[in-house]
Subunit: 275 residues, 2 copies
């Protein structure tokens, strides 16, 4: 769609020039954002719910430490299953990812996730100290899931390297379509909200994108070695370009409720690699 | 940065194929999102503040209708200045844009904006029926501001068409740097939050992007007519590609607190136009 039959070539005079970075910027886990000011909270209503949470949490922790800690006189046997077992944790992560890929971090309350997951509050606080702690775990789980998806595609020996990337793109499109384009990328959603998020999220989000970018770079390098991409291209710069634009395409697909932005971005990207 | 000295060319075998859209997708103002369910509210705390708002609003409206409505026996003279004059409206819009470009819609409470703008609540409800009404006005004001900025750059007769686009990019970079990369694009922020927003916002956001895209398309067409871009390119597809990726670049610049993503995306885009 980007390339009509070639009829001429363009020149690039440039009165206004942009500096290009001399090195990759994806490995900077510093968090320069200042913590939110007290008056800037998004919920300045009477914090009854938060107080109840805190009391619930403290009572629960107290109870756990007094009943579950090993004591000299305690009888032998299989230890009691903690109320927050791993199944509950997995369910919280699964439901959390579902909600946050759809609506982001700020618009989702922990209570909603508990209700949807059918997990009691005590179980939540057994596994996570706070919403922030939970959010961090969600970013980690999402990165793991997504890196694994990319690895699976990029290891497909039956496809050429560029077709592996096309396969991932088609897969992502199907994934968005399945959920009627309501769910986007957790990292993109949270990246957009960064100014309202706990500062510690910045390096987690940045690391996730850096991981995906490195996996993509390796795929593009293989494409270059196999002659699918010209030797004049730099796989690291192409991979950076891909992930910068891809997050924009996912955002736009959510907004338009259509796969077109994903396809339009992919078409432009492959036109770039083919020159 | 994308083009090293040319040493070979790539081929594009394709086992996995992507469909490309046959027509532009940017003019679909339909909003298929269903309204939020009652149980899905992001704030299920005791809604004392909301009740106070409502009472305040009703009392204010009642007062306005009983004192400001023209009555037969009312004495002549200059009408009383309404409490919500245009200066207050402008201040609300200015402060609202500041807050929402930084943190999005969901994370910002109207009360914060009122405090920061130094505008009383009555004045807010004189101009806007609700946060949703205010949000819609903000999208409109932002589109107006941004379209005007694009027009100013694209009308620069002293620059070549592609340099006009470079000028806009440099300008945007300076704008983000000025606010330490805390503020992004209002349309990108809200687009990312779409699933948590009033459904009516979808067409407003989509229209804004469509406006910017058409202005950019005209600039790229001029670039093509002046020989800066090859005749084989389609300016409408390039403009769509630019705005899909640019929103991703702004998102990433916010996350990385760096201008590099903007520059990397621009470098890739201009490499694409030069082939």
């Amino acid at each position: 769609m980007f390339l009509k039959p070639r009829m001429g070539s363009g020149s690039l005079p440039g009165a206004v020039r942009l500096n290009t970075p001399s090195q990759s910027h994806f490995l900077r886990p510093d968090a320069r954002a200042s913590p939110p000011k007290p008056g800037e909270s998004s919920n300045s209503a009477i914090p009854v719910r938060q107080i109840l949470h805190l009391i619930d949490h403290l009572v629960y922790k107290q109870k756990m430490s007094s009943t579950d800690a090993p004591t000299p006189g305690r009888r032998r046997g299989r230890p009691r299953k903690p109320p927050g077992d791993q199944t509950a944790r997995q369910e919280l992560i699964r439901t959390g990812l579902e909600y946050l890929t759809e609506r982001g971090y700020c618009a989702v309350a922990v209570d909603e996730i508990l209700r949807a997951a059918g997990v009691p509050k005590g179980s939540f606080y057994y596994h996570f100290d706070s919403k922030e702690d939970f959010g961090g775990a969600l970013i980690g789980a999402y990165n793991e899931f997504f890196s694994s998806k990319l690895r699976t595609w990029f290891q497909r020996a039956d496809l050429s390297p560029l077709d592996r990337l096309r396969g991932f793109i088609s897969d992502a499109e199907k994934g968005m379509e399945k959920h009627a384009f309501r769910r986007g990328c957790l990292v993109g959603n949270l990246g957009q909200e960064m100014a309202a998020l706990p500062p510690g999220f910045r390096s987690l989000l940045s690391s996730a994108l850096s991981d995906w970018q490195h996996l993509t770079e390796a795929c593009l390098l293989e494409a270059q070695n196999q002659g699918e991409i010209g030797k004049h291209h730099k796989p690291d710069a192409l991979a950076a370009f891909f992930w910068i634009g891809w997050e924009g395409a996912v955002l736009r697909a959510k907004l338009e409720q259509s796969p077109d932005p994903l396809r339009q971005f992919a078409a432009g990207f492959f036109a770039l690699t083919s020159n």
